[in-house]
């Protein structure tokens, strides 16, 4: 069943993933040996390299791949609308037996929106901000079904009801900014299904949404598929979503389909190396607490034998770095230290929201939050957007200040530290941010970036700092030869490793990790999480870990707190919270993790 693009040129390439019994007529879409490239300054770059697949009537075919795999390009090529510079070099896209390739734009327009619907990726930007959502649905109806204005408006309201928007009459007259992300995505789904198309292409329809919202939106798509007997091409990076929703799966890597077949086949007995790796690393599918790798444990033992190992802090072996002398030891390395590295109690943080046209409303972003982080362990806060988890983390790291409540670090109250005292706290508490693209200065070399905290605290001279930077690069499994590169030359995963190396430079005891892996591909996610687990043992670190993804949380946490609307709903050991959730919302979150149906 594996089909390499390069082997498909003979024309028999489009053998069906639907099984051999399916007649050609049963396939709504047949893609044969499709090649797409983008023109760049240094010549054309192939994005899709000879893929072939079919979409059977009424079935969901998932195209799964990581960023840069060519899956989004494929989805755009299916309606012949590529980003500027893109072109279809060869191959055919047969929709209902007709090749879209040679079709005129005019003919294509009657197919786009009329017979092929498209659900785009980013609900926050994919609706015209200046047009009422009802009108945006009605526009498709008037174009393709030739409805008059009044009929289209009525039909748009019906469609909004069908995609599950409460109070559709009022919603139809609203503008996109007045709807939540999930609602906007429902509107976009409504647009895609408005004219009852035979095929809908959904390009990462839920990756910008919270997990519970994602579940409802996907359920909604399922229902539409069943009711209208629509075929769907579901493009996603999330193998678990594909596992739950799709009948067939095609795995893309590097512009080629490396493996395709029924969902069960691909997931239960993957044959291609890449698919195997993807199945293994999908957090929703394989969930267990990661354990430190053997090399990390080895280094720990090695450092235990080292001369600087202090037995007073069993949870915090001083680490190999201390043994080698290049990386500064923790400032408190010799002190006994409190058992809890961080204790926060009764934190409250409010924001005044300016309502349109005057008046204000107070938002309690963090509402009476208390927790403790035991030394040397990982404490995770899980919650959806707007839950207050990031604000809590920022207060805990003393980047933001609370309205009331206390933060105590290593037994000392640090709530009201300021100026130099606060700056000195930064030696012991470091932060790693979500977006490795925004958090590294593009103009600085990797070495400079990593050594910056050292420079800020005047540790060592220039050569010493360069030495530390190189050593840290090795600790985060990057080649020291990258030291003189710029962040733009690195991949997302590499950048996040650099950000982690930077946070380690000054020898902190606590690292606040704010969604450190959510911007990364799943296979990279797992590598970074493994790295974090290894570093924790090597350097005796404590983590305050923030994530929206319970699958990720499960892989790294010792303790978990579940937050919603600024409140901690439930907290406890990772095992208790995950295996025996007490709060309704926690159960809902757990149920919403994709990848549970197939396994």
């Amino acid at each position: 069943m594996i089909e390499h693009g390069s082997g498909a040129k003979t024309g028999s390439g489009a053998n069906s993933v639907a099984g051999d019994g399916a007649a050609a007529d049963d396939n709504i879409l047949v893609v044969r040996d499709l090649h797409v490239s983008y023109a760049t300054r240094s010549g054309p770059v192939a994005a899709v390299r000879g893929i072939s697949f079919v979409v059977p009537r009424g079935k969901i075919v998932a195209i799964v791949g990581e960023s840069g795999s060519g899956k989004s390009t494929t989805s755009q090529a299916l309606i012949r609308r590529l980003a500027s510079g893109g072109r279809i070099d060869s191959g055919s896209i047969e929709f209902e037996g007709r090749d879209l390739g040679p079709m005129s734009e005019r003919e294509l327009r009657s197919i786009r929106g009329g017979r092929i619907g498209f659900v785009p990726q980013d609900p926050s930007k994919s609706l015209n901000p200046l047009m009422r959502v009802g009108d945006q649905i009605a526009e498709a109806l008037r174009l393709h079904l030739k409805l008059d204005k009044a009929a289209a408006a009525t039909e748009a309201v019906r469609i909004l009801a069908e995609v599950g928007l409460p109070d559709p009459d009022a919603r139809a007259t609203q503008f996109p900014h007045e709807l939540s992300g999930g609602m906007r995505q429902r509107v976009l789904i409504g647009i895609a299904w408005a004219c009852n198309p035979q095929l809908v292409i959904a390009d990462e329809p839920t990756s910008a949404l919270d997990v519970t919202v994602q579940r409802h939106v996907l359920d909604n798509i399922d229902e539409l598929v069943r009711r209208h007997n629509t075929s769907v091409v579901l493009v996603t990076h999330d193998l678990a979503v594909a596992a739950d929703r799709a009948d067939y799966v095609a795995v893309m890597s590097n512009g080629e389909i490396v493996e395709q077949g029924t969902t069960e086949q691909v997931l239960s007995s993957p044959t291609h190396e890449y698919t195997k790796k993807l199945v293994e690393s999908a957090p929703g599918l394989a969930s267990r607490r990661l354990t430190p790798s053997l090399t990390a444990l080895g280094e720990q033992q090695q450092s235990s034998a080292g001369k600087l190992f202090t037995h007073t802090r069993p949870a915090q072996p001083a680490g190999s770095a201390t043994a080698s002398g290049a990386i500064p030891a923790h400032s408190g390395a010799d002190a006994a230290g409190a058992t809890n590295i961080l204790e926060v109690s009764n934190l409250v943080k409010t924001f005044a929201l300016r309502r349109q046209g005057g008046g204000s409303q107070v938002l309690r972003a963090v509402d009476d939050v208390s927790f403790v982080v035991p030394r040397g362990s990982t404490f995770s806060i899980v919650g959806e957007s707007g839950s207050g988890k990031t604000t809590t983390a920022r207060i805990a790291a003393r980047i933001a200040s609370a309205d009331s409540g206390t933060v105590s670090f290593d037994g000392t109250d640090v709530t009201s530290l300021s100026g130099e005292a606060l700056r000195q706290l930064r030696r012991r508490v470091q932060v790693v941010y979500q977006n490795p693209f925004g958090s590294l200065d593009p103009k600085m070399s990797i070495e400079k970036i990593i050594a910056e905290p050292l420079r800020a605290f005047r540790v060592g001279d220039r050569t010493h700092r360069a030495e530390v930077a190189r050593e840290l690069l090795e600790h985060v499994s990057l080649s020291p030869s990258l030291a003189q590169r710029r962040p733009t030359e690195l991949s997302g995963g590499q950048r996040q490793r650099v950000a982690i190396a930077r946070s380690l430079a000054i020898g902190p005891e606590l690292i606040v990790l704010d969604e450190p892996v959510s911007a990364l591909d799943v296979s990279v996610q797992e590598q970074i999480l493994q790295l974090l687990v290894d570093l924790q043992v090597q350097f005796g670190l404590s983590y305050l870990f923030i994530s929206h993804d319970l699958g990720v949380i499960r892989q790294i946490s010792d303790h978990i707190a579940v937050m919603r609307s600024g409140k901690v709903l439930e907290a406890g050991t990772a095992h208790d919270v995950l295996a025996n959730p007490q709060h309704e919302y926690t159960r809902e979150l757990l149920a919403a993790i994709p990848g549970q149906r197939a396994v």
């Binding site: 309606i79 609308r81 980003a83 500027s84 294509l108 327009r109 009657s110 197919i111 786009r112 929106g113 009329g114 619907g117 498209f118 785009p120 990726q121 980013d122 930007k125 994919s126 609706l127 015209n128 901000p129 200046l130 047009m131 945006q136 526009e139 498709a140 174009l143 393709h144 409460p166 109070d167 009022a170 919603r171 007259t173 609203q174 503008f175 900014h177 007045e178 709807l179 939540s180 609602m183 976009l188 647009i191 895609a192 349109q356 046209g357 005057g358 707007g386």
Partner: protein, 331 residues
């Protein structure tokens, strides 16, 4: 009721800004004129009658009273301000005619060419942008995008003379000077439209080309919307938002531009009047013109702010949305 309150809350600060700009403009000009070396009235009389004019001190005092230039600076400052608020801008030293009357007479001519220029400029900017947007080949698009910057590069006295020699003298289609007929306004308006349209084009076309790659345009394409409708329904209004802001600035530019254009085409108008007033050191006229132009500039910017509220629902004031639904909407 809440709507009225919301509008008041939105407009009152803007009105305050408006008044501040006008008073500040007046103050600045007053200070400039009065702190120039030499007595303004004597300078004006000298400019009028030649350097050797001899004036009797008593007569001079009488003239001071006549032109409102008597008393201390504070008295003059507040006296003029209060008079201006009542619509009295004093009397021109050079002509002896009330400044309000002079401005009233010249104003329509300038408004005529300025608004025509704005119309020509904005229309052609939108048109060229649309052509560039719809251009089937990249080279044609690039070419179209390169044309408008010429409008800024070529100075108005050059383009004006070129237009006169081609359309007035060679072809004889339009008059080269004067302000009597509507025809006469066309060439000056085109001359003025070149830089104004080019400035508008720079902002508008980049907004359109940026919006063209935006996800909501992709959604529209995927819906099967034809290009022309995408431009009018989806791109135009979104791209107008950033462009409207510079409309206010363009009004200021137009005020300066009329001075050159009216001189080149020997038309009556505010611009030419200002040039003459400056040459004659006719401070009452200078003050009056600057005050009026400043007020118009501030007024246009006030209107732009209000227009923003109408065009962009995200900044709209309490506009027509059921409040129940808005409360329901998360974030």
């Amino acid at each position: 009721m809440t709507q009225v309150k919301a509008w008041a809350g939105y407009l009152l600060p803007k009105l305050g800004q408006f008044l501040f700009v006008v008073v500040a403009t007046y103050t600045l000009v007053f200070v400039l004129v009065h702190f120039l070396p030499g007595d303004p009235l004597i300078a004006a009389l000298a400019a009028k009658g030649g350097a050797s004019t001899v004036i009797d001190p008593a007569e001079l005092d009488a003239l001071r009273v006549q032109y409102g230039l008597d008393g201390t600076l504070w008295q003059q400052y507040f006296g003029h301000l209060i008079a201006a608020a009542q619509g009295d801008l004093g009397i021109s030293i050079a002509t002896g005619v009330p400044v309000t009357e002079m401005i009233g007479r010249a104003f329509p001519f300038s408004v005529q060419i300025a608004s025509l220029a704005l119309l020509f400029g904005v229309t052609s900017a939108v048109l060229i942008t649309f052509l560039a947007y719809a251009a089937p080949w990249p080279w044609l698009r690039q070419l179209l995008l390169q044309i408008p910057p010429f409008g800024i590069a070529v100075p108005a006295f050059l383009s004006g003379l070129l237009l006169i020699s081609v359309f007035a003298f060679t072809l004889g289609w339009l008059p080269s000077a004067g302000a009597r007929s509507f025809d006469a306004a066309i060439l000056p308006a085109i001359t003025l439209a070149l830089p104004v349209g080019a400035l508008f084009f720079q902002v508008f076309s980049s907004a359109v080309l940026e919006a063209q790659n935006s996800p909501y345009v992709f959604t529209a394409v995927a819906k099967g919307v034809p290009p022309r409708r995408i431009f009018t329904k989806h791109l135009l209004r979104n791209a107008l938002l950033p462009s409207i802001t510079i409309l206010g600035l363009l009004i200021g530019y137009l005020a300066g531009g009329t001075a050159v254009v009216e001189t080149v085409f020997s038309r009556d108008g505010i611009g030419r009047m200002t040039v003459n007033a400056v040459l004659a050191r006719d401070i009452n006229v200078i003050q009056g013109v600057v005050l009026v132009v400043g007020a118009i500039y501030a007024l246009v910017n006030l209107l732009v702010d209000v227009a923003y509220g109408f065009i962009d629902p995200r900044t709209r004031i309490g506009g027509g949305v059921p409040s129940r639904a808005r409360l329901g909407a998360k974030k």
